[in-house]
């Protein structure tokens, strides 16, 4: 018998979907065309806050321009939370009365093509009476501030407070470091923007919505709520999706508008978000402001963290995640992978006149990691020790696993300190320190930075039920169906938009059934064809849908054994399934032969065959559903040019433990893409707003994303500690790459700036911010000398 190469779990299998995607044969929303399709362009509010006095539509545009008055009966988007004190917002698809951010939809214009629809937009006159604008969390929290939502008592969606441990342990802290740390507002900038095409299928009496989403089933629920349809009347399809990153989890008002047009006009309509719409009105994210104090003993052992955090959530609570996901996560995960006896945190989610805040790859973890890791480095500098050593002293140790941390998070498995040791070794810290000590070669300053984090993923019912938001994940289902010729179809309710699930799910099935991944099709992204799911978010798909696929295939295997054993004149307990066959001592039958018997030659089946046949829908939830914890240490080496504030990343190492890796090649791709985005957050990407709430970065000329020259070769070292709680020991790792780079890079910059006494604490570290920090340090030094 010839030994086949492993194509199951653990194989570095090239992605099946790449053949079509790399040849330009994918099918995205923008590729859909059909007779009579009309394009939609939106008239967006030019002001960040104001009362709509009038919207004047020229007479000859009647029937082609729609305002909120036309959409009477459509319910606003309303993302609630059960957390005590939470104030939900109501976001009408088209503004009614008040506009609350620049870019909010005021009217929609319909024509044969987008250019003509935009011509219509320019002919509609909107008169808005300006109201005072809240463009930052400080202004919005002032007692006498205007209200973003008129009936609120203040501009706070939610305030949370947490305190753990006895504050007395801080009394004798030898080290106390206080910092103000900020992450600027930014975008997500997926390759493909948002897009929606909708029409009415009169045969099925259904609204059909093709939309670029991560959560097709949730979108159906959201659209049904807004449009007043029953869910059976809506069919949502997510075709190929060109990057999503959390932005495409959100029910957008544009989606509701397009669906409403299709429902009421019974014709096909399309809206394709352009880059400008995306940059100014869509995927705002990341804006955290920390006032944080770290306490430690003289050696840098953490005694406690106190933090006051404001998140600029913008004008509306997004559906289904709500305006509190980010801040609630901050409070619960700020301690990161560290052990400490005391922790206190207050968070406020503040309403401002900016576009709604949307969770982005890494969600709150990127901000939290930035804050805590800058503090750990500041403590290390105070203690006069290597930051990596201080990390080793404070991290959860492997013998403590599974470990419940100070906020009650249950870390499942792993050797966190080992990730630091491996990173130190891979980056060759001693050699870099020696190089730092020698005379500089080109006037640039060398710096080394580390960041360690853990990433809760695939968190389920027990975590989300407490939040009371519109979406609480339960069991995840998958359908496995053997085709009449012995191939396999898998149907899952999550969606792949860069994760390579058409490959990795086939590998899981192969692990159980031995069917070649080339003969396995994945059906996903379609509410009519797949089991219900909350969708792809929270790095959950491999754990949840992968677990369900595994379970469904196990049941298929059992049923195949009954038929196969009969065909082999053996008994089910005498046969095994492998290599796409049922094997007995004396021979084997293939899945093709078994399928042939079930579908075409039922007269050959045994009397005790399962009547459910070769199609199974199975449900799955991990033994412990509070989430898997991947973790990693990132190490960055930078050269800082103190004349221009330029930062060059010379080396970058990621040591990551994502549990059992189903496809390490895909994992590498996830890490590389995530780190590229993290580099964007660290050094380039920013959506600034002026005091009038006007967006200042509306094209890629002003909104800078890293290109190939800005992303260095990234070296990845894998560790594999299986999760004790999940099928096959897998953990979610989809977001990790984007979590640590801002922290690792800023720590490296601060290491480089140490001789100048300067420090940065705001993302992105632009040349201007870096040079300001140096100038400030010089002024301070000069002042000290003068005294």
């Amino acid at each position: 018998m010839n030994e086949r190469a492993n194509v199951g779990i653990g194989a570095r299998l090239p992605r099946k979907e790449d053949d079509r995607l790399m040849r330009g044969r994918g099918l995205f929303v923008g590729d859909i065309s059909m007779p009579g399709l009309q394009d939609v362009a939106f008239l967006r509010s030019p002001l960040a806050h104001g009362r709509i006095v009038s919207v004047d539509v020229p007479e000859d545009c009647a029937g082609r321009v729609f305002t909120s008055a036309d959409m009477a009966g459509v319910k606003p988007i309303r993302a609630v939370s059960g957390l005590p004190g939470f104030k939900p917002s109501s976001q009408p698809p088209l503004a009614t009365g008040t506009v609350r951010f620049a870019g909010e939809l005021v009217a929609m214009c319909v024509d044969e093509n987008r250019a003509q629809a935009e011509d219509l937009v320019s002919r509609v006159n909107v008169d808005i009476e300006a109201l005072p604008v809240l463009a930052d969390t400080g202004t919005a929290q002032a007692v006498d501030a205007v209200r973003v939502h008129e009936d609120w008592a203040d501009n706070i969606y939610l305030e949370t407070k947490i305190e753990k441990g006895d504050r007395a342990v801080l009394d004798n802290a030898a080290i106390k470091v206080e910092r103000e740390i900020r992450l600027s507002r930014q975008c997500m900038a997926p390759l493909e923007g948002k897009g929606t095409v909708a029409w009415w299928d009169s045969r099925l009496d259904q609204l059909v919505v093709y939309t670029s989403t991560q959560l097709p089933h949730m979108m159906r629920t959201g659209l049904a709520e807004c449009l007043g349809l029953e869910e059976r009347q809506i069919h949502v399809v997510a075709p190929d999706v060109g990057g999503a990153f959390g932005f495409k989890c959100i029910l957008q008002p544009e989606e509701v508008c397009i669906a409403w047009l299709a429902m009421t006009r019974r014709r096909p309509f399309r809206w394709l978000e352009d880059r400008r719409e995306h940059l100014v009105a869509a995927a705002n994210t990341r804006e955290h402001h920390y006032r944080i104090t770290g306490y430690a003993d003289a050696e840098g052992r953490l005694l406690g963290i106190e933090a006051d955090v404001a998140v600029d959530v913008g004008a509306y609570s997004v559906w289904p995640f709500s305006a509190c996901l980010e801040s609630a996560q901050i409070a619960s995960i700020l301690p990161g992978p560290y052990v400490m006896p005391y922790y206190a945190c207050r968070t406020v989610s503040v309403a401002t006149n900016k576009p709604p805040f949307t969770p982005y790859r890494g969600v709150a973890r990127t901000g939290v990691c930035f804050a805590i890791e800058l503090i750990v480095d500041a403590i290390a500098r105070e203690a006069g020790r290597e930051p990596s050593q201080v990390r080793l002293d404070n991290l959860v140790r492997p013998e403590q696993m599974p470990f419940t941390n100070i906020t009650g998070k249950l870390f499942d498995s792993g050797d966190y300190p080992e990730s630091v040791r491996k990173a130190v070794e891979a980056i060759d810290l001693p050699a870099l320190r020696a190089r730092q000590g020698s005379a500089g070669d080109d006037g640039r300053l060398l710096g080394i930075g580390f960041a360690t984090y853990c990433e809760q993923a695939a968190h389920g019912t027990t975590v989300y039920s407490g939040w009371g938001i519109p979406m609480v994940p339960g069991f995840e289902q998958a359908t496995a169906r053997v085709t009449p010729d012995g191939g396999l179809e898998l149907r899952i309710g999550v969606h792949s938009h860069g994760q390579g699930m058409e490959t990795s799910m086939a590998q899981v099935a192969n692990e159980i059934l031995g069917i070649d991944p080339a003969q396995i099709n994945l059906v996903h992204g379609d509410t009519a064809l797949t089991p219900y799911s909350t969708g792809t978010w929270g790095s959950r798909s491999m754990v949840m849908a992968g677990g369900a696929v595994s379970r469904a295939c196990e049941i298929i295997a059992e049923r195949a054994k009954v038929i196969g054993a009969h065909l082999l004149q053996s008994s089910p307990d005498q046969v095994t399934v492998s290599d796409g066959k049922v094997m007995a001592a004396g021979g084997s039958v293939t899945f093709a032969e078994i399928a042939n018997a079930w579908y075409k030659r039922p007269e050959t089946l045994p009397a005790d065959v399962a009547p459910e046949g070769l199609e199974v829908t199975a449900g799955y939830k991990p033994k412990v559903d509070s989430g898997t914890f991947s973790y990693a240490t990132h190490a960055a080496v930078v050269a800082v040019d103190p004349e221009f504030g330029a930062v060059d990343i010379l080396d970058y190492v990621v040591v990551e433990d994502g549990g059992t890796l189903v496809n390490p090649l895909i994992v590498d791709g996830q890490i590389l893409g995530g780190v590229a985005q993290g580099i964007g957050t660290a050094l380039y990407e920013e959506s600034p707003y002026n005091a009038d709430g006007q967006p200042l970065a509306s094209t890629f000329m002003d909104y800078i994303i890293p290109g190939p020259c800005e992303v260095p070769d990234i070296r990845i070292v894998h560790m594999e500690t299986p999760s004790p709680f999940t099928a096959h020991g897998v953990k979610g790792i989809g977001e990790g790459g984007a979590i640590a780079p801002p922290a690792a890079i800023a720590n490296a910059i601060n290491d480089a700036l140490r001789p100048l006494g300067a420090e940065v604490a705001t993302t992105p570290v632009t040349p201007h911010r870096l040079l300001s920090a140096i100038a400030e340090a010089r002024a301070k030094a000069a002042g000290a000398v003068a005294q």
Binding site: A115, S122, D274, F644, G707, E710, P767
Partner: protein, 279 residues
């Protein structure tokens, strides 16, 4: 965003182009590569009724060698300079500058004349050709007129072109073999417009000692005679470091920008350009 509806013409001669411009009155716009105009059309920042694409006019892609200068057609692409497909009167300097403009896709279509007329202060040609004291040949209904680049650009995105005129050629003098050229630009990201840039041209045989600071809020700032910055403290044996520090401070103290950090960047860019010619 999609452009407004406009007419598009691609004439084959200069007089035809001028006629189209005159017919279109103020509503006509020249396109000479479209690398800036394209996005402006899509953003509806430009809403012309008529686009006159001049890239098919043979005279505008020609090179004419004169005794002491080379005249380049305005529609010669950056890539043609980068690839050495046209002569380089500045001893390879034009080729070097062209290779650093934006990205190759932009260089394939973007033209030297288009860039000068668009007059983005942070564009490479604006600063470097000002340093070379290029002369521009403007096509007019009467024939042509000539103007120094320094006088042509009036402000950011504003050049001296009357209705019915367009830029036809760029005349660059031939520098002597001993001439030295320095150019430094700092961009936040490779291929983006520069945050700070400076060019220096030293040609003793032609008595040229010129420095230019670009990427300002407006026109480039010209230092006509920088001889005193070439020598460290007046002594030729002094280390370059002192000369560079003086040059850096001189420029930083000009107060080009409102912001001292940006001014310091201008100074540093100038010092680095200078360093290339005195090293």
């Amino acid at each position: 965003m999609k452009p407004v509806d406009f007419r598009y013409s691609r004439p084959g001669t200069i007089p035809e182009a001028i006629e189209l411009l005159n017919e279109g009155a103020g509503g006509a716009k020249i396109m000479a590569g479209g690398q800036s105009l394209g996005p402006m059309l899509n953003l509806r920042l430009a809403q012309p009724e008529q686009i006159v694409d001049i890239t098919a006019i043979p005279a505008l892609t020609m090179v004419t060698e004169e005794r002491d200068a080379v005249v380049f057609g305005a529609c010669i692409t950056h890539a043609a300079f980068e690839d050495g497909r046209v002569p380089d009167p500045a001893n390879g300097f034009l080729r070097r500058v062209a290779g650093g403009i934006a990205y190759r896709a932009v260089r394939n279509r973007g033209t030297i004349g288009g860039s000068l007329v668009h007059a983005d202060p942070a564009a490479d040609w604006i600063t470097t050709l000002t340093a070379l004291d290029a002369e521009l040949i403007v096509a007019t209904a009467q024939g042509e007129r000539r103007v120094a680049l320094e006088a042509f650009m009036m402000m950011a995105f504003g050049v001296h072109l009357d209705d019915g005129e367009f830029l036809a050629g760029i005349r660059i003098r031939k520098f002597s073999p001993a001439a030295r050229f320095g150019y430094y630009k700092f961009c936040r990201k490779r291929g983006e417009f520069a945050e700070a840039m400076a060019a220096v041209v030293i040609d003793p045989a032609l008595n040229i000692y010129r420095g230019v600071i670009g990427a300002t809020q407006s026109r480039p700032l010209v230092l006509d005679d920088i001889r005193d910055l070439l020598r460290g403290g007046g002594e030729s044996s002094a280390p370059n470091g002192a000369a560079l520090a003086r040059a850096r401070d001189r420029v930083a103290d000009l107060g080009i920008d409102d912001d001292p950090i940006t001014d310091a960047m201008h100074g540093n860019a100038f010092a680095r350009a200078l360093e290339q010619v005195i090293a």
